[in-house]
């Protein structure tokens, strides 16, 4: 039973009782329905009896009135007789269903009676008394017959009614007995079930109450009654939980008492600790009332007439101190000082110091507690103040010494800058001139000079390299190396460095492999220094490996706080011992002296690289084994952080540079000296070929529009002559496409056609419009004009004659016309003669240096957009960068490149310049 809930049990009990009740009701209802049917039938019989009796009465009335009529002849009697007859008929109709035979018989007899009686009455009315009597005698026979049948009917009905009544009484009595039995049975079943269910509830409930009473009396070990599945089971479980919680509470209470004891102990220790603090200590509550303090604190206010005890307000303490003259600052301005002191006290920040009139200095360190109170430590700093005064004097003397040292450093820096310029300028000249001499010797077949010149060249390079490195290291050590942070494409830089290193790899027959993801992306660092580090590692790997593999891996790594770039250079070279690795990054150190002898080098490269890497927030590590090879790994953050002012300057430079390039730049290549003749007529092509060749032009011909377009892109001619009427793509179509293609849009197009449609030609972008037949002189004049327009002019401003000459030759070799100036002043004069398309500018020059020249140039609106490339041997400081103020196209530090690299850079740059200077949209004619 306990498997079911109490509710389920009660529902079951109710259901059983309801079922019994329902069954009893059904039985009684059916019995009643049956009785009702019997009663209905009985009532019907009674009503029939009534009808029979009524018929009997009506027939009596009929007999009476007929008799009365016969005697009185009154109409009223006849009416009454008719009424009685009608009433009789009505009664007979009610009896018809019960005994139709008798009814039919009675009707027949009554009809006969009426007929005879009325006939008799009529006879009486007509005074035929004898006849009337005879007829009435006949009528009486019918009366007798009806009387007998009606009496018989009534008798039968009464017998039937009595038997039915008896049957009903018997059935009712039986039903009553049966219903009594059913009620008794239902009561017994309900009682039994009720007792059973109540016992299933009360028994466990009593046990549960017993357990509750025991728990209430404190007996927590009392057993909890067995837990059933019903509500009492739930109560038992809850009681169990309650008992467990009481046990847990008792346990926690014991623990709390233990903890309280420990807390009291700790509090006592804390009070003791506060007491032994040599500084004054005080804790004020949120209402600024003293909670606790130590003896030292009380001593500090010993001369103040106020009792330092818990509950005293801080304001009262310091007010008493100020008024008693203890506080020096408060003299004469007690209120102001008090307000100021309270403001500091209530909003504590930095430690507060003040001096007392007895010369004692106090440092008051106050902090807010979480509950709004204030804890203060009052330290006697009189000795400290004394020492501070002494230290101040010392600092002054040190500052003086520092200024002197900084002056010396500036002098040294200036010296180093001068040295770098003075040393590297002649060396560049020596190297450049040597190269020229080598070329001349090769051209003149003077082979004896080639080898010595090569040695001079190598020695010069080695010396230049050594000087550069010594100067770099010197700057790093002096902290003068300033990073020039900018955003650049790391992939492009890696490609450039690998291209530079490939000859070195090839020299020792090494295989150089690069693994750099295409999406390595942009980083924010000093591009020159990154380049130098990677190139140094690659150079070393190539130098110390022969017939091996050099692998360059570049990856972007996740790191905190910033991602970083990892560059690994792995070689299969000679490798290093652990001892060698320890000294690897020390200045002027190689693996050992024999290494220097065998492989050359200054031993500064790795030291400089490591310092540069660290300067940018990265580092270099090495893993190596002798005879196996080495792996150098350098990490550089993707966002190198520079000092704030440097960063801003670099950012500004970058923006200016970006703006300049956006306005003027468009990639392309230098214009050739070719004239492209596009004409479908072979005679015209031949004629043009001969005539223009004699006038000194290189001529290429195209016989169709399509061929003309292709050759225009391939040859980049300085001018195109174009016929209009051609099969396929005609001249107008060619002209439109040339104008739409950025690569060819700037090439002047001279229309040469028999069509006189100049307006259309110029509208489509033609530069000139000539009508056939072909006039050789006119064509020559026009082409000469465009040839001179196409010639790009560059101005080299360089005080070193050898470098100046080298740059000039470089420009001429690339199809430029080059002017030279030995300083800024001369350059400004030359500008007046012709506006150059490009200026290559040295910075350190006599009379007017590059900075001054650039400032003057930018002051002249017509020259403001002339691109300027700075090519300098000087080491530019951040201040120098700021002075240049982004007004230059590019800065090429000679120290970062050898001659060939510098020339490559320049070639690429001036190639871009040539394209940019092309007069897009500017047409003659």
């Amino acid at each position: 039973m306990s498997r079911f809930s109490i509710l389920a049990r009660l529902v079951f009990l109710s259901a059983v009782l309801l079922a019994v009740l329902f069954a009893t009701n059904v039985f009684l209802s059916r019995q009643l329905a049956r009785d009702a049917q019997i009663l209905t039938e009985e009532a019907r019989v009674v009503s029939i009896i009534k009808a029979a009796n009524a018929a009997n009465r009506s027939f009596g009335d009929l007999k009476y009135w007929l008799t009365d009529l016969a005697v009185s002849l009154l109409v009223r009697s006849e009416i009454k007789a008719r009424e009685a007859e009608a009433a009789l008929e009505e009664q007979l109709a009610g009896l018809e269903s019960y005994d139709p035979e008798t009814v039919a018989f009675v009707r027949q007899e009554v009809d006969a009676l009426m007929e005879q009686a009325i006939m008799a009455v009529d006879a009486y009315t007509d005074d035929q008394r004898v006849l009337g009597n005879s007829l009435m005698a006949r009528a009486r026979t019918h009366i007798t017959a009806v009387d007998e049948r009606l009496a018989d009917l009534v008798n039968r009905l009464e017998t039937d009614a009595v038997s039915r009544t008896n049957a009903t009484l018997r059935a009712t009595s039986r039903a009553v007995d049966l219903s009594r039995i059913m009620v008794v049975a239902a009561v017994l079943v309900g009682l039994g079930l009720t007792i059973l269910i109540l016992r299933s509830i009360t028994t466990p409930l009593r046990k549960l109450v017993g357990a509750m009473t025991a728990i209430t009396e404190g007996n927590l070990n009392v057993p909890i009654p067995e837990q059933s599945h019903d509500e009492i089971g739930a109560m038992a479980r809850t009681l169990g939980l309650f008992r467990d919680s009481l046990l847990e509470r008792n346990r926690l209470e014991a623990e709390r008492e233990k903890a309280d004891a420990e807390r009291r102990k700790a509090q006592a220790r804390l009070v003791e600790a506060i007491e032994v603090i040599t500084e004054g200590f005080a804790l004020y509550d949120a209402n600024d009332r003293l909670v606790i303090c130590n003896s030292r604190y009380r001593e500090m206010y010993a001369d103040v007439p106020i009792a330092i005890q818990p509950g005293v307000a801080y304001r009262d303490v310091i007010a008493a101190a100020a008024e008693s003259g203890v506080i020096s600052e408060a003299r004469g301005r007690i209120d102001d000082w008090l307000e100021n002191r309270m403001a500091i006290h209530l909003h504590p920040g930095e430690p507060y110091e003040h001096q007392r009139t007895d010369g004692q200095w106090l440092k008051i360190s106050e902090r807010k507690t979480d509950d709004g109170g204030i804890v203060g430590v009052f330290t006697d700093i009189t000795d400290l103040k004394t020492r501070e005064a002494q230290l101040g004097e010392l600092v002054d003397s040190l500052a003086q010494a520092r200024d002197q040292a900084m002056q010396a450093t500036r002098t040294k820096s200036q010296f180093l800058a001068n040295m770098s310029h003075e040393l590297r300028t002649p060396l560049n000249a020596v190297i450049g001139i040597t190269e020229m001499l080598q070329e001349d010797a090769e051209d003149l077949g003077q082979d004896d000079f080639i080898e010595p010149l090569g040695r001079i060249h190598d020695a010069g390079n080695h010396l230049l390299h050594l000087i550069n490195q010594v100067l770099d290291l010197s700057k790093i050590e002096a902290g003068r190396l300033q990073l020039h942070i900018e955003e650049f494409d790391l992939g492009a830089l890696i490609g450039n460095v690998v291209a530079t290193a490939e000859p070195l790899a090839a020299k020792n027959r090494n295989k150089l492999t690069t693994d750099c993801p295409d999406d390595i992306g942009m980083i924010h660092a000093d591009v020159t220094q990154v380049r130098q580090i990677v190139l140094n590692l690659l150079s070393n790997a190539c130098k110390f490996t022969e017939d091996g593999d050099v692998t360059l891996d570049v990856e972007r790594e996740k790191a905190e706080p910033l991602d970083r770039i990892r560059v690994s250079v792995r070689d299969t070279g000679i490798g290093m011992t652990p001892g060698q690795q320890e000294k690897l990054f020390e200045e002027f150190t190689q693996a050992d002296s024999s290494t220097t002898r065998r492989y050359g080098g200054t031993g500064l490269g790795l030291a400089i690289s490591q310092r540069l890497a660290r300067l940018m927030g990265g580092d270099i590590e090495v893993v190596s084994a002798p005879g196996v090879g080495s792996t150098f790994t350098v990490w550089i953050p993707v966002e190198v952080t520079a000092p704030e002012d440097e960063e801003e300057a670099a950012e500004e430079n970058l923006k200016r540079l970006a703006n300049t390039v956006t306005v003027e730049g468009r990639p392309g290549k230098a214009r050739s000296d070719v004239v492209l003749v596009v004409d479908d007529d072979p005679t015209v092509r031949d004629l043009m070929q001969r005539a223009l060749s004699r006038d000194g032009f290189r001529v290429v011909t195209a016989e169709s529009g399509e061929e003309g377009l292709r050759l225009a892109k391939e040859l980049n001619p300085f001018v195109i002559t174009l016929d209009v009427l051609m099969p396929g793509l005609d001249g107008w179509g060619v002209l439109q496409r040339l104008q739409q293609d950025p690569e060819t849009a700037s090439i002047p197009v001279v229309m040469l056609t028999i069509l006189d449609d100049r307006n259309r030609g110029y509208a489509l972008g033609a530069a000139d419009y000539l009508i056939k037949p072909f006039d050789r002189e006119q064509m020559g004049r026009v082409l000469t004009k465009y040839r001179s327009d196409a010639e790009q002019c560059a101005l080299v401003v360089e005080d070193d004659q050898a470098t100046r000459e080298m740059l000039r030759r470089l420009l001429i070799g690339d199809g430029w016309k080059a002017e030279t100036a030995e300083n800024g002043r001369v350059a400004l004069d030359l500008l007046k003669e012709r506006k150059p398309d490009l200026i290559l500018l040295d910075l350190i020059m006599p009379e007017m240096d590059g900075f001054e020249f650039l400032a003057a140039l930018r002051d002249m609106p017509e020259y403001r957009n002339v691109p300027v490339v700075v090519v300098t041997a000087a080491d530019l400081t951040e201040d120098d960068h700021r002075r240049l103020n982004g007004g230059v196209e590019r800065i090429l530090p000679k120290a970062a490149y050898d001659r060939e690299q510098l020339l490559d850079e320049l070639r690429e740059l001036i190639g871009d310049m040539a394209v940019r200077r092309s007069p897009v949209g500017e047409k003659t004619g």
Partner: protein
């Protein structure tokens, strides 16, 4: 009271009869018929006026012999009509009919002396209507081949089956005398047939006088002195019809 009523009714009847414009023969027939009605009414008035005497149980001989009643009847008749039936030609139809009617009155009264003079019985059932029916029956016995006099009424008012209206009477009462358009007191004289014989028939409406209402008035169905329920009639309602048939 009843005598006064009947007198008024006869006066009206005479006036109405004078207004009928029939052919001369018909006028003679009508005159004869009306005289029979007048004489019957006169005799009935005698009985009516002596009703209390007749109903007096303390008096034995009431003195209402046949001759006495005939004499009082003639007196009333003469007074109402100015005619004397005994002075008429006894061979004429009117003279014969009136004399036969007088003889019937005398015989009925004489034959019912025992009833009228029965002491100790108050109401003896000898009322004007019963008297008139008996007179008419005796007249029929005497002159049945030539003439009949009958007092009938609307069927619902007829108490004795012998007074039930025949078809003509019933139709006349229903369609004419009870019609609101029928002038009050106007008779109907019509050539018709009865019992398969040609006849001249005169129907004279009679209306309830105050005396009639003692037995025929309100409240309806209350049993009157004769033991019959009252019909609920009102003063002036059609109470009966004297139907005279003169066979041709």
């Amino acid at each position: 009271m009843p005598g006064k009523t009947w007198t008024v009714g006869l006066a009206m009847l005479a006036a109405l009869a004078a207004g009928t414009g029939t052919a001369f023969a018909d006028a003679e027939e009508e005159r004869i018929a009306l005289s029979l009605a007048d004489l019957l009414r006169s005799a009935r008035t005698v009985i009516s006026s002596n009703q209390n005497l007749i109903n007096d149980p303390s008096i034995g001989d009431k003195g209402l012999s046949g001759d006495v009643v005939v004499a009082r009847t003639l007196e009333i008749y003469r007074k109402n009509t100015g005619l004397d039936p005994l002075a008429m030609d006894d061979t004429s139809r009117q003279g014969r009919f009136l004399r036969a009617q007088l003889a019937a009155i005398k015989e009925v009264m004489d034959e019912n002396q025992a009833t009228v003079n029965q002491p100790g019985v108050d109401f003896k059932g000898f009322v004007p209507a019963v008297f008139a029916r008996l007179v008419n029956e005796r007249f029929g016995e005497k002159m049945g081949r030539e003439a009949e006099v009958k007092v009938t009424a609307p069927l619902e008012l007829v108490r004795n089956r012998k007074s039930r209206p025949d078809k003509l009477e019933a139709a006349t009462i229903r369609d004419k005398f009870l019609s609101p358009e029928w002038p009050n007191g106007q008779i109907l004289a019509i050539e018709s047939s009865k019992d398969n014989r040609q006849a001249f028939r005169v129907l004279v409406p009679e209306y309830y006088g105050q005396g009639c209402l003692t037995c025929h008035g309100m409240p309806k169905d209350e049993v009157d002195i004769t033991g019959y329920p009252k019909e609920g009639g009102k003063l002036g309602d059609l109470g009966g019809v004297i139907s005279i048939t003169l066979f041709r």
